[in-house]
């Protein structure tokens, strides 16, 4: 229970369903802030108190469990390492994968619980053979199956998403109000919870330092300088501050970040188009496809709020390789490609490499 409205209502529904429910708030920082500032961040003392109040209203026990060390190692340090390596990580997925459905789930199972229920908008469906499948929530606009795409069959076996069939967030808020939960109108949290002011660039600069480096075009010609490659994301247009205009006068975008030589590669928008995505770190969300080494039709989604696009996927050479039907913009190594078949999440990979749809001399 994060202290937000979704987990409070999820807990309430789990209680209504007849489960024996215990509220657990994860302490993810040793030095939590006192109050939320605006809608950003979470894990403040205010959030912990809100979670406890919700548990009180539901009449369930409530505990705070400390996962701050694991969170730092598995999520925060991983985030820094990924950026330092020129990739664009998704810390929420890492938290689901390593904290909520690993450290927390494993501790809970050992303490005698059967499952971890969260306020995620996603559905678990049991197939004819009794295997669990992960599906999109019925409310497409709130669907969070993307950030759960990292869950494995074993994790899904013990996951429970009571909000999966809710048509909209407004209904969840209304239900919270009806149930007398004080968080009914609490603002949603956004951005990255451990960067409380939302300034990811500044936060990273403090941790990995700044160093002046070159901004180059695709031919290798230096067209500007920057104060640290980690501050750039593939697809980024703003904040490049290039002195030399492009010969054709068109805006330039970050095409690649090379942390090893602290270089940022820029080029025209069409050069962002990616024709192939591949990653060796892939998992299946439940039963794997019967023969993944034969190319199969699917849809791929590369961001939490991106539209899925038709694609063909195959496992070859130890990698999950996904070829979208039409090239995709703004794909960066480190992002997660989640593969769907219909509403079902089939699996995912962390993107290691991309292949541009537009050759350099085009």
């Amino acid at each position: 229970m994060s202290g937000g409205v979704d987990s409070a209502v999820a807990a309430a529904r789990a209680v209504d369903a007849g489960h024996e429910v215990v509220g657990v708030h994860l302490a993810l920082s040793r030095m939590p802030g006192t109050l939320r500032t605006g809608s950003r961040g979470c894990c403040t003392i205010e959030d912990s108190m809100d979670a406890q109040r919700a548990a009180n209203v539901l009449g369930i026990p409530y505990y705070v469990w400390d996962f701050s060390e694991r969170f730092k190692a598995d999520v925060v340090d991983d985030f820094i390492a990924e950026y330092s390596a020129g990739r664009t990580p998704n810390p929420c997925m890492r938290c689901n994968e390593r904290i909520k459905f690993a450290a927390l789930l494993e501790k809970a199972l050992a303490l005698g619980f059967d499952a971890v229920a969260t306020g995620h908008y996603a559905s678990i469906v049991t197939d004819a053979a009794g295997n669990k499948e992960l599906h999109r929530a019925s409310a497409w606009a709130k669907d969070q199956s993307y950030v759960l795409g990292v869950l494995t069959a074993e994790q899904l076996e013990h996951a429970y998403f009571p909000l999966g069939d809710t048509p909209s967030k407004d209904l969840v808020r209304a239900e919270a109000a009806r149930r007398g939960l004080s968080v009914a109108q609490k603002p949603d949290s956004h951005d990255i919870c451990f960067i409380s002011d939302g300034d990811t660039k500044g936060w990273l600069a403090e941790r990995v330092g700044t160093a002046t480096g070159d901004v180059v075009d695709r031919t290798g010609a230096v067209v500007g300088s920057h104060e640290g490659a980690h501050a750039f994301t593939v697809g980024q247009r703003r904040g490049l501050h290039l002195g030399t205009p492009a010969p054709d006068g068109r805006p330039r975008f970050v095409l690649e970040v090379r942390p090893k030589d602290n270089t940022v590669v820029v080029g025209p928008k069409e050069a962002l188009a990616i024709g192939e995505i591949a990653g060796s770190r892939f998992t299946w969300a439940g039963e794997p496809p019967s023969d993944a080494s034969t190319p199969f039709e699917c849809e791929v989604q590369i961001r939490a709020h991106a539209d899925p696009v038709p694609a063909v996927a195959v496992v070859t050479g130890g990698e999950l390789v996904v070829t979208p039907q039409h090239p995709l913009d703004g794909v960066a190594p480190g992002q997660t490609a989640v593969v769907y078949v219909g509403t079902r999440v089939l699996g995912q990979c962390t993107i290691d490499r991309t292949v541009s749809a537009v050759p350099v001399d085009a």
Binding site: I45, V64, A102, L111, G112
Partner: protein
């Protein structure tokens, strides 16, 4: 439910409840001049004298506060500021492993007021290293504003050598504040006696001592600072000048009456209760160590060196919060020991100060016995412990590897 967390708070005594409810109907502000005010004032001052009598002090020396924490703040900040008035005395000596009421207060003085906080180390039993304190007092004692210390540690129950510290500070001409919140009601406290036996000159040696009502069966919301006649503090709260201008604010007569009732009852049966509680404590210790050989007792193993009501055990390889959860589910309420903010557990700074590892500190459990505790409570705890330990061991440490590392 079996309640074994009496160090957090202990049930109110019937006498205290009766005194409270009776006094709630008394009309009159004790600061008013009319007869109603005088009646209230009389009840208040009688209560003050009763509390004072349980602490070896005079009524006039007892300042009621809103909590034990406020008493500690008033003593430390009040003495500190007063001691800066006529000379620069920047050093503040404080043992490691103090309660947060002290730790955070001296930290604040260091940040905002230039206090040079010197931490006096503890030994592995949690006892202050007297040699280190003596060395710190000998080295330019005139620059020390005050010494503050716990009478007994609230987490691990180790009783401090208060008389020796009182003597050292008296000899060095430095005022001493003692936080007796955990010790009150379990150990005899005699402030005047201590001042006499340690040869304290006015304003030096033990001059201030903090206690809290709810730890002894009185109501929450009232504490007291014993402030020796010879000591002066700067007040924290200004206003109507109540309580010798040391602590302004309309006084809570009913809470004072209730506090006094609890104090009198507890003082009258202190010795017998301490004996009975010690026996229960020793049963918890020997029973727990027999049931779970991996457990380790923290603090002083000598029965005379630890609080009669305190048991503190470390279970290496377990999270204290797992144990607490499992015992709670089994109907036994205990504590992981240290203070926590909004329930966020932290490894105990007390155990760390005693030289223990963070892993050890994470698996800590504090079981505290109160005046009403029974053999049946101990039996219930000992019955629930082995199963809880076995299951918590399987849950392991949150800091340990998950399946992703294996």
């Amino acid at each position: 439910m079996v309640y074994l967390d009496h160090a957090a708070t202990t049930p109110m005594l019937p006498e205290a409840i009766e005194a409270l409810t009776g006094a709630l109907a008394v009309v009159g502000n004790p600061a008013s001049i009319h007869s109603a005010g005088q009646q209230a004032k009389r009840l208040l001052e009688e209560s003050r004298e009763q509390v004072a009598a349980t602490l070896g002090a005079d009524g006039i020396e007892v300042v009621f506060t809103g909590s034990g924490t406020e008493a500690v703040n008033l003593a430390i900040k009040g003495l500190w500021w007063h001691r800066q008035a006529d000379a620069s005395r920047p050093r503040l000596l404080v043992p490691a492993g103090e309660h947060h009421a002290t730790v955070d207060t001296v930290e604040w003085l260091a940040e905002h007021d230039g206090a040079l906080v010197e931490e006096i180390p503890l030994d592995e039993l949690g006892r202050i290293r007297l040699d280190a304190l003596e060395a710190a007092l000998t080295r330019d004692g005139a620059s020390v504003a005050l010494v503050t210390m716990l009478w007994a540690n609230n987490e691990v129950g180790t009783i401090q050598p208060v008389e020796e510290v009182a003597r050292l500070t008296a000899r060095a001409g430095v005022p001493l504040h003692v936080d007796a919140i955990a010790a009150y009601g379990q150990l005899p406290i005699d402030v005047h006696g201590l001042r006499r036996s340690t040869g304290a000159a006015p304003g030096t040696g033990i001059v201030a001592l903090s206690v809290s009502a709810h730890k002894i069966g009185g109501p929450a919301g009232i504490g007291a600072l014993v402030l020796d006649r010879s000591a002066a503090v700067e007040p924290l709260i200004h206003g109507g000048g109540q309580q010798r201008k040391v602590r302004s604010g309309t006084q809570d007569v009913a809470a004072a009456a209730s506090f006094a009732a609890a104090a009198s009852v507890v003082a009258a049966r202190l010795e017998a209760d301490a004996r009975r509680m010690s026996a229960l404590r020793d049963r918890v210790i020997s029973g727990a160590l027999a049931e779970v050989p991996e457990a380790r007792l923290s603090g002083d193993p000598d029965p005379d060196g630890r609080l009669p009501g305190n048991v503190h055990l470390s279970f290496t390889g377990c999270e204290g919060d797992s144990l607490l959860f499992l015992l709670d589910a089994a109907g036994v309420a205990v504590s992981t020991g240290s203070a926590c903010q909004a329930g966020v557990p932290e490894p105990s700074h007390v155990l760390m100060a005693m030289g223990r590892s963070e892993t050890d500190a994470r698996g800590a459990l504090r079981i505290t016995i109160g005046h009403g505790s029974t053999e049946a409570d101990v039996d219930a705890f000992l019955a629930a412990l082995p199963g809880a330990y076995a299951q918590a061991s399987r849950a392991g440490l949150a800091a340990r590897a998950t399946s992703f590392d294996r």
